[in-house]
């Protein structure tokens, strides 16, 4: 008994008097078992390999083989059949398609594209979306970003089409075959937990820098949500309906086309929407591997800390995100990022029906008119003299801010001081603590946490992932990243819970907050790096700030939803017993919303990690930096190992925080 209490993490130690009662709970039994295992294995492992950071004896050096593989690929890219007859065609098809779409967009001209997009938005989502589209494209032109916007759009269109096609096919397979579904599900779950950055390196290894690898990385990133939602939609078909269709003597194909697919329409649409949003997010990040377009402009500006130019390219990205989301989401009000996880949003089923009555001819005429308009307007690209240069004024404003907010505000210090304090007082001790943790202790801790919250399967995956990081020799670096993630998650949760509690109690705050959350949830991660560099300079603190802002909306949304769902009767009875507001919250609402709270933690961890990693671009260091370094030096061995470690870290964090019940309930 005593071995258990000494070897398990301190938070699990129960006072002796309560031990017996505590043991009746499953969590305590798990901990006891784990404690015994640790107590037996840890001294052995420590005696054999030492007890500090991950022992060298247990690492495998992959740098050599990976480096040789990289050299081989570069040397054989123009000669080996694998490249000439397989990868070459993939690359060629992508480039040809992107070029085709880009040429069409150019041929339509700015007037044609703007009018066409508005028309499409109007048809799909109504007048408001059309106005949004019109204004957004005009702003992109005004900012002098027309050509980059068209490039990003061309890349996006191809990537989204491919993602939706691939995702729908996989989803169809998963929806129709149980075995396929079981095989796919853990893979899709894992892919959703991985940061975008981890996807970049493998494709660069094969395809080099350019548009083709960028599109491929985007497809790999954006197809899973489509596959998952398609499969779920198909599996969710009402059995009664299916029986009815069967009894009418429908063939398998008829059953699929007339009953299952139409009934899964909501999920299919949501899948398309999610794929589009993920694709945009990735298409922008892929500028690091030569995707060109808007992301490249942001990347160029960030590398010279030119906040003004970064903003000029960042605004079109945000606008594009909003237009795409509003257009494809129709009248769906729940934001995209968490929507697939919470309750399915209500789509007004009949909303499409009346519009369908419009005939094809209207469409043909409209399209012809748009093209004619584009032609008549003459200019293919946005006219140069219709642009507003915002870079210089923004930079002036930023300099003013740096001069006045950066340091020395009496009383509260400046943003630079906060950044320094956050780094010095929070990040550094945490990092040193994690790096000082004996490796077997870290493994035991992760196993304990994951098992308490989830099942032995999740615990095993989490522990193995962590061990894999050690085996790759990235232990210390990963602990650095982990410290950044944990600190940022803590801040996110505190802030998120506080906001959510307020929002759950006051409908007015909730109404005010909703549109803000909507907008924030649609923005690609990359965009958040711009303002934080202006405010906090360079280093780990700005990366953390970006991560917190990025993850906050999802946390607020999930938690406030959970709190609001608390049974009113339970609340009423608590109130009648004279519970104060705080007591109600602690003893009724929080316990009742346990599942949502855990989900919020899980989402916070996954989202924060993804941004902390791209923080490597603004001096965040650690694993993200190694990926950037690998890409920058063409040293793909370093980059790939860091990328794998990132994937393992993501998997570990996801599994540790994954509640027992599957997310979709």
């Amino acid at each position: 008994m005593s071995t258990a209490t000494t070897a398990v993490p301190p938070r699990a130690v129960a006072p002796p008097g309560r031990l017996r009662t505590a043991l009746r709970r499953p969590a305590a039994r798990k901990l006891l078992l784990l404690g015994i295992v640790t107590a037996v294995l840890a001294p052995l492992a420590a005696a054999r390999w030492g007890s500090g950071a991950w022992p060298d004896a247990l690492t495998v050096d992959l740098a050599g083989p990976l480096g040789r593989a990289n050299d081989w690929i570069i040397d054989n890219r123009d000669g080996h059949w694998l490249f000439l007859y397989f990868f070459g065609h993939i690359s060629n098809a992508i480039i040809t398609s992107v070029r085709g779409v880009y040429l069409v967009l150019l041929a339509l001209g700015w007037a044609g594209v703007t009018a066409g997009a508005s028309l499409l938005a109007w048809r799909l989502a109504g007048v408001r979306a059309a106005v949004t589209a019109l204004a957004s494209f005009a702003v992109c032109g005004l900012l002098g970003m027309w050509v980059p916007t068209m490039r990003t759009l061309a890349l996006m269109i191809v990537a989204v089409a491919a993602s939706v096609a691939v995702g729908a096919l996989l989803g169809l397979a998963g929806g129709l075959s149980d075995r396929m579904f079981r095989a796919m599900r853990p893979v899709l779950d894992t892919m959703q937990a991985l940061p975008a950055f981890a996807y970049l390196l493998p494709v660069v290894l094969v395809f080099g820098i350019g548009v083709a690898p960028a599109v491929l990385a985007t497809v790999v990133y954006a197809a899973p949500p489509m596959a998952r939602l398609t499969a779920m939609g198909l599996r969710g078909t009402d059995q009664g309906v299916l029986e009815a269709v069967d009894s009418l003597g429908a063939t398998g194909r008829q059953r699929l086309l007339t009953a299952r697919l139409p009934l899964a329409r909501r999920e299919l649409l949501l899948g398309v929407n999610q794929s589009i949003m993920m694709a945009l997010s990735m298409a922008v990040i892929a500028s690091v591997i030569g995707a060109d377009g808007l992301g490249d402009r942001v990347y160029q500006a960030l590398s010279t800390v030119d906040v003004g130019s970064a903003l000029a390219a960042g605004i079109p990205i945000v606008l594009l995100a909003i237009v795409l989301d509003r257009t494809t989401a129709g009248h769906r009000s729940v934001g995209s990022r968490s929507a697939g996880l919470g309750a399915p949003p209500a789509v007004a089923g009949g909303g499409w029906a009346p519009r369908r009555t419009r005939t094809l001819t209207t469409w043909a005429v409209a399209i012809a008119a748009v093209v004619a308009l584009g032609r008549a307007a003459g200019a293919k690209s946005w006219p140069d003299h219709w642009t507003v240069a915002i870079a210089t004024p923004v930079n002036t404003a930023k300099d003013w801010m740096v001069d006045h907010l950066y340091s020395g505000i009496p009383g509260i210090g400046g943003t630079a001081d906060w950044a320094a304090h956050y780094t010095g007082w929070v990040l550094d001790p945490l990092r040193d603590g994690l790096q000082g943790l004996p490796w077997w202790g870290a493994l035991a801790l992760v196993a304990a946490l994951a098992w308490m919250i989830g099942t032995w399967r999740t615990a095993l995956t989490a522990t193995l992932s962590l061990a894999a990081i050690g085996v790759l020799g990235r232990w210390n670096v990963a602990m650095d990243t982990l410290s950044q993630v944990l600190a940022a998650v803590a801040v996110t949760l505190v802030a998120g819970f506080a906001i959510a509690v307020v929002a759950a109690r006051s409908p007015r705050v909730d109404r005010l907050l909703r549109p803000v959350l909507d907008v924030f949830q649609t923005m690609p991660q990359f965009v958040y790096l711009i303002p934080v560099v202006a405010l906090f300079g360079i280093g780990r603190a700005p990366a953390a700030a970006a991560a917190i802002v990025y993850a906050l909306p999802a946390v607020v949304r999930i938690v406030s939803q959970g709190l609001r769902q608390a049974d009113p009767a339970a609340l009423e009875s608590a109130r009648s017993l004279g519970a104060t507001g705080g007591q109600q919250l602690r003893q009724v609402q929080f316990p009742l919303a346990r599942a949502e709270l855990l989900l919020a933690v899980n989402q916070a961890v996954v989202l924060v990690l993804s941004v902390v990693i791209i923080g490597g671009l603004v001096g965040g260091g650690a694993l993200g930096y190694e990926v950037v370094f690998g890409l920058a030096q063409g040293d793909l061995a370093t980059g790939l190992m860091a990328g794998t470690a990132i994937a393992c870290l993501g998997l570990m964090l996801d599994r540790v925080t994954q509640p027992t019940k599957p997310k979709e309930g």
Binding site: S97, Y102, L103, G537, I538
Partner: protein, 325 residues
């Protein structure tokens, strides 16, 4: 919904057509240029632009002249130094305007694969080294010899240098032997990468504002010298023997960086088919003073790159007229 499906189907069809169009012969991905190049009847040139301001100055002036004098459309793509070679060999960019010496890549792409062609010298000579601020060197003149650096390690500590002195490095993409140098010269320093040159400059400016001592990897020509005067620390002299040793195993380098004449490199295909633009880029050569003039306008006067190039072009027709021949 149906419309969306039709749209998706149409795009899918285009993709399928594109796939069939590529046929079943060999498709050499090293000969596939950017999908955005030469679109809609324009002639385009794609330049690789690096993050440092000198490189931006080259690209800005070349872009301005190509667009206004020769009627091209110029795309610039930010690619880091080493991947830029790969992109150049694949024709995804047409030219690198300023290369600081990558013997490995030169051997692979210029000598062996012949996909990249030497574009001649830029006319500017580059020098990499270690530098300390002038205010610190004036107070402690002996810091300028590397043998005395350990004496000052304690004063050079930084938050990320783990108790040792901090040797500030910038972008991960730059040519650097600093880790090997620190080890081989037995210095009590830790190389700290700021992550980007911009980050490094911000850091240097902050140190200079507070008159704090620092040791940094830096290079010449660079406009920052005008704002923060710095003095170079003498490292063991660069010799051919040391260079040979370094080529064999980069981890054994124990001498200073060489002085490098900066070079241009062009895609081989582009030199053949690039016409006037290729000839122009080959002829492009200017001096350190010219480059600094443009760099300064961009970095310090905060002029947009095209405006800076325009000013320089109007002032120095005698320099660039020769490039158009």
């Amino acid at each position: 919904m149906r419309k969306a499906l039709i749209t998706a189907a149409a795009i899918g069809l285009t993709t399928v057509t594109a796939v069939t169009a590529t046929g079943c012969g060999a498709a050499d991905m090293t000969k596939q240029s950017s999908p955005y190049a030469n679109a809609a009847g324009t002639k385009t040139v794609t330049l690789s632009v690096q993050s440092w301001v000198g490189a931006r100055a080259n690209a800005a002036v070349a872009t301005y002249l190509l667009e206004h004098e020769l009627g091209y459309r110029v795309d610039t793509v930010q690619v880091d130094e080493v991947p830029a070679w790969d992109a150049l060999s694949q024709g995804r960019v047409d030219a690198i305007m300023e290369d600081w010496g990558h013997p490995d890549q030169e051997k692979r792409y210029v000598t062996q694969k012949k996909t990249v062609t030497d574009g001649g010298e830029l006319g500017v000579t580059g020098h990499i080294g270690w530098w300390v601020p002038k205010y610190f060197a004036d107070a402690h003149p002996d810091v300028l010899d590397w043998k005395n650096l350990n004496k000052y390690a304690a004063q050079m500590r930084g938050p990320e240098s783990g108790g040792k002195g901090q040797l500030l490095d910038g972008s991960p993409s730059y040519v650097t032997n600093d880790k090997a140098l620190v080890k081989n010269l037995k210095l009590d320093y830790q190389v700290v990468f700021a992550g980007s040159e911009a980050a490094q400059i911000t850091q240097i400016q902050q140190y200079a504002k507070d008159k704090k001592p620092f040791l940094t990897y830096w290079y010449e020509p660079q406009w920052l010298f005008n704002e923060v005067p710095m003095v170079e620390v003498k490292l063991p002299a660069y010799t051919d023997a040391c260079a040979e040793k370094g080529t064999a195993d980069p981890a054994t380098i124990d001498c200073a960086y060489p002085t490098t004449p900066l070079k241009k490199f062009l895609n081989t295909e582009f030199t053949k088919k690039g016409g006037k633009a290729a000839r122009f880029l080959k002829n492009f050569t200017w001096t350190k003073a010219d480059q600094n003039e443009v760099a300064q306008m961009i970095a310090e006067d905060k002029l947009p790159a095209d405006k800076a190039a325009e000013r320089w072009v109007h002032k120095h027709p005698e320099v660039w007229k020769k490039w158009l021949k």
